[in-house]
């Protein structure tokens, strides 16, 4: 009996030793990164066998709140660089705020040819439901409101708006056909599943303040080597290529017209 216990203890120690070696990081990311970051993480994991990277997607504002409340995220990718800047100022960051991309808004539809759509088309009475992200805490929602106001269609369009909790739920409202048109992230619209349905039209970026995006390593990940390596990986040519492919304008590059 004692022999058995001793063996179990050895086994336990072995397992503990093995898992202490493998590192694990948790990433909180804006929902517009869903497809791009999934690819980047897959490539990163292939380079770092045995380590774990978990990504949670949601609205940037929500993660901002959660990190202030001690949520266990090691890196935070925000669709609006203002959120990580505020966190860094409040002492929640272990790195400087790194800009990683500029996001673009598009009009997207699953039921009609969205390539012909303009913001002014949204006043069409045949379009009864338009989905945007919740402007209270989702950067893409805030910019969508700005663009609608700048295009001079806000008062006609506002009664038709429905609000997704984040940009991914906004896309889902459109994909299920419950809203005919959505204002979503270009990075989501170029995903093959979505772009096959109806295409998309870019919204001119002078209609809203830029969607400058940034990330930080959080305070709790200070000294975590894997978190630092993931941050470095984001600056690698491979990761930048993935981001461009998903329509992100990268820091230090000219914006597409």
């Amino acid at each position: 009996m004692t022999r058995l216990l001793a063996h179990l203890l050895c086994l336990g120690l072995l397992l503990a030793g093995a898992s202490a070696h493998a590192e694990k990081i948790m990433v909180a990311a804006a929902a517009d990164l869903k497809f791009a970051l999934d690819e980047i993480v897959t490539a990163f994991k292939a380079r770092e066998p045995g380590h774990e990277v978990e990504v949670v997607y949601g609205s940037s504002g929500k993660f901002h709140t959660q990190i202030q409340q001690g949520a266990p995220y090691d890196l935070y990718f925000s669709a609006d660089i203002a959120y990580p800047r505020a966190l860094a100022q409040a002492g929640f960051a272990a790195s400087s705020v790194q800009p990683y991309a500029v996001g673009r808004l598009v009009l997207w539809s699953a039921s009609r040819d969205a390539r012909q759509l303009r913001l002014s088309s949204l006043t069409d009475p045949k379009i009864t439901r338009i989905a945007i992200a919740n402007p209270k805490h989702a950067p893409y929602g805030q910019r969508a409101v700005e663009a609608l106001r700048a295009a001079g269609v806000w008062s006609q369009v506002e009664p038709k708006l429905v609000y997704g909790d984040n940009i991914a739920q906004t896309a889902q409202f459109v994909q299920t056909g419950n809203a005919q048109v959505g204002i979503i992230a270009l990075a989501l619209a170029v995903n093959p599943t979505l772009s096959r349905q109806g295409g998309y039209a870019l919204i001119p970026d002078q209609l809203h303040t830029p969607l400058e995006q940034g990330f930080i390593i959080t305070k709790r990940a200070q000294g975590k080597a894997l978190a630092q390596r993931f941050a470095d990986h984001m600056r690698s040519p491979q990761a930048r290529a993935v981001m461009s492919r998903y329509g992100f304008v990268l820091p230090g590059e000219a914006a597409a017209p």
Partner: protein, 225 residues
């Protein structure tokens, strides 16, 4: 204290819960009656279906409802065929969803009330030549009245507490689908803890008072259930 939009959310929540409770009183009673008296082999499966919302994650219900109510879903096709506007992101849509969501809270207390009554009162009524429908309303309903009251209170309170389903099919529209629980979530998300605290306190006090009155009333001496 509370902002105009908070009051709007509270009023909307009360309206939603009230409408759902009334609809379920009508829909739930025959289901509960059947479940209480039937010996059919369908009793177990139907009972299980009625109880499903007790255990299903609201996201499962929300997901199915969103697809079902969409333009290609069965409910969406039905509303289209009837020339009605689509259900998602409307008050009517929320009512339909909440009827599913709160069904067991109405049916189960009613069913136990009918079961506790036994067969005897209805048999006596029949020997006095009361028609079954007549006997149901003049004998069964008064006898089961306490069960009806519990069922209505629980249904109302549970609908007030609905969150996940509303978030998935509501679209967060003020006065239409931004109920109190969603309004609190929004306050928290936008770091407005002061507003969140005030509205959350209202909900907490409301829920406690409802349950306290229900339990105090049930515990009265001489009252069955």
């Amino acid at each position: 204290m509370l902002s105009a939009s908070d009051w709007q959310a509270l009023w909307l929540t009360a309206r939603l819960a009230g409408v759902v409770t009334l609809i379920l009183l009508v829909l739930g009673t025959p289901i509960a009656w059947w479940l209480a008296r039937s010996r059919s082999r369908w009793k177990a499966p139907i009972g299980a279906v009625v109880a499903l919302p007790l255990v299903l994650p609201p996201s499962v219900l929300g997901f199915y409802l969103l697809l079902a109510m969409g333009p290609d879903g069965p409910l969406g096709q039905l509303t289209q065929a009837l020339g009605l506007p689509p259900l998602p992101f409307t008050f009517t849509g929320l009512v339909v969803a909440s009827v599913f969501y709160s069904l067991p809270f109405m049916v189960q207390p009613q069913q136990s009330a009918f079961e506790a009554m036994g067969e005897r009162p209805m048999e006596v009524a029949a020997t006095l030549r009361a028609s079954p429908l007549d006997a149901f309303f003049t004998v069964a309903v008064p006898l089961a009245a306490p069960g009806f009251l519990s069922a209505s209170i629980l249904t109302f309170a549970h609908t007030v507490g609905e969150f996940g389903v509303v978030l998935m099919i509501g679209g967060n529209l003020p006065g239409i689908s931004r109920v109190a629980s969603v309004q609190i979530y929004d306050h928290v998300e936008s770091l407005d803890y002061g507003q969140a605290h005030r509205l959350a306190a209202v909900m907490l006090v409301f829920s406690f008072v409802v349950l306290l009155s229900l339990y105090a009333w049930r515990a009265q001496p001489g009252r069955r259930r």
